[in-house]
Subunit: 349 residues, 2 copies
DNA sequence: TTTAGCACTCGAAATATTCGAGTGCTAATC
DNA sequence: GATTAGCACTCGAATATTTCGAGTGCTAAA
């Protein structure tokens, strides 16, 4: 059977209606629409065909039809047209980024809030995976005789700290000297290269403190790794407002899936390789999310992808609207990020 | 009417049963209990009295009885006996604090996780309100020609940072000098006294950079204030497993209340003035939480209260168990905190 | 190929029925 | 006077029944 122009139009009408109402769509609903001049009987025949082709499903004999995941996929790939945001909407999005935000963490959080506020879905943001970031400054501040805090400032203005246990018998003077030496060695080093030979080589110079140096590097690296895997979530409970989650079991399992360590991180990490990604129903890796859809976009700094962000909601999602929102928002986000970080040009002090 | 011994025993039995089953308790259930030798008819009479006194409520004529908030209050104040944790339970609690945690934020998070895991309620932790903390070290690290990061290390090993916009024409040399001067002035200062006269006086010395100094202090102070108001939550969705929240509307409004900025913070802040606090139903300030109960404990460092933490769950809460768990856990927490911070004795380097 | 017409289907909502846990009251008993 | 066996009564939860109508598929005519 062929998927001709009319079938496509009907399918689109059904999907549009279903996305709006979440109720099975009947033949009459479609035939009544002003832009169709076809009787409901004809629509019925077409619908029957569409069902046979796997694009529609019938919850029960005497109900209307519901789009299948295959239909959403077709819709996304071939039917849907990009929605235009109007000025009002753009303004609202921008307004979230207007306020004074001066740390990356704050920007990430604000983005998540904006996205979930605007879309009414659950928003998630993978923070910038700044692995090419360079170390601007390292300092060890002694806290007491056995502890010290290693503070690291990157050229993007981000801060990392690691609590250190000092080797016995290390004096305040030693710590200071060590700190200076460490700063000299690590300065301008890329964060993802701490484990590399060159550094090891340099460490040769540190003779007696060699062991300690190694420990410091190790804990630093470990901290970097673990810290990066957080995903900022917002509006997790928005899902409760959609009728398909108006049932405790589903709601519970959805919320549980969000709380599962790593799931979202994995997804967003993978999505960072694409400009946009749309994953519908059981296309999702996580089986708990097999009746959700996820739409993401990747944001950049300059030409380099920094991370991705997106929404997660019911499969009857406003796909086209999401793409427009994400597209616009990633501009705002990239801009804000660039404004925050400003690595280019005059960053040599 | 008088609340004699027998009435108390019956009330306790009803409460115990209700806490366990969440179902209205009938007279027979009580009279069948081995330790009662009273017929159900007698129990009925007593129950009728208890209802008249406001300790019991009847969902409808032919149902059993449910304890009222007044009953829980009585239970907490007069009836309940402290539960003893067994070794197994203590071990489990301790195990959460065994792993290497070396930052206050991590400790706070871990405490919340432990508490919600163990109790199956929603856990919340107010991070240490370290307002008597002293500044150990301040440094300004320049990021580019117009931005710099102020990094502040406290004597508790906590880090705070503020992004600064440099005044025009301030050279790298200037920044360095300013940084040193700032460190000299602020070192050993208490965080909650940044706005105080003495500091203002000292700032006199800073002649041309006076204005900038003021700006720095302001942003620092503002950051301190805003940063402290976060409450660590864990297990927010645990509530969904209790039958009283097996209804979307209630679940939604509960989750919404948790997300409302400030509600929990206010509560915990207030609770920090007491060793333990129990707030039942509409004793809660927030009307959205008027069918929850909240049990909190305050943890200390030395003799000084640092913050409070606790659980929020249905009014039929295991009050005595909660108190025991919180009591034990605040020991672990206080210890871990002290181990982390170690301000006493040899902290002069 | 389209469509009017009609019998048919089936779930949702409304209504009725059954069931039993639990009550309150009374009268007998301790 | 306090306790209790006994019994009629209550009322919601669970289950069954009915009603209703949106929607279907099929047929025959246009």
């Amino acid at each position: 059977m062929e998927l001709d122009q009319r079938k496509l139009r009907i399918l689109q009408a059904i999907i549009d209606d279903y996305i709006l109402t979440a109720a099975p769509v009947g033949s009459r609903t479609i035939s009544k629409r002003a832009d169709f001049n076809i009787s409901s009987a004809t629509i019925r025949n077409e619908m029957s065909d569409l069902e046979e082709m796997g694009y529609l499903e019938q919850p029960h004999t005497s109900a209307g039809r519901v789009p299948s995941n295959k239909a959403y996929r077709l819709y996304v790939n071939r039917i849907m047209q990009r929605a235009q945001l109007n000025d009002e909407e753009r303004k609202i999005i921008r307004s979230y980024f207007f306020q004074r935000i001066d740390q990356v963490e704050g920007l990430v959080r604000q983005t998540a809030t904006a996205l979930s506020d605007i879309t009414k879905y659950t928003a998630m943001v993978l923070p910038p995976q700044l692995n090419t970031v360079r170390i601007r400054h390292v300092q060890i501040v002694q806290i007491n005789h056995e502890r010290a805090l290693l503070v690291l400032v990157t050229d993007t203005g981000m801060l990392r700290d690691v609590m250190l246990r000092l080797p016995e018998g290390m004096s305040g003077r030693d710590v200071e000297r060590f700190s200076n030496r460490l700063n000299f060695i690590l300065k301008d080093m890329r964060l993802d290269q701490l484990a590399i030979d060159e550094v090891q080589l340099l460490s040769e110079e540190m003779n007696e403190q060699r062991q300690f140096f190694q420990t410091v590097l190790d804990s630093l690296e470990q901290q970097m790794r673990s810290n990066a895997q957080k995903v900022e979530l917002s509006g997790a409970t928005n899902i409760l407002f959609y009728p398909e989650y108006n049932n405790m079991e589903k709601a519970k399992s959805f919320l549980a899936a969000l709380n599962t360590e790593g799931t979202l991180y994995q997804m967003l990490k993978r999505a960072s390789k694409l400009e946009f990604s749309i994953s519908i129903g059981d296309e999702n890796e996580a089986p708990e999310l097999s009746d959700c859809s996820i739409v993401t976009a990747t944001y950049r700094m300059g030409s380099e992808p920094m991370g991705s962000f997106g929404v997660i909601g019911p499969t009857r999602m406003h796909y086209n609207r999401m793409l427009s929102i994400l597209e616009y928002m990633r501009l705002s986000l990239s801009e804000a990020l660039a404004g925050l970080i400003e690595r280019d040009g005059d960053n040599k002090v």
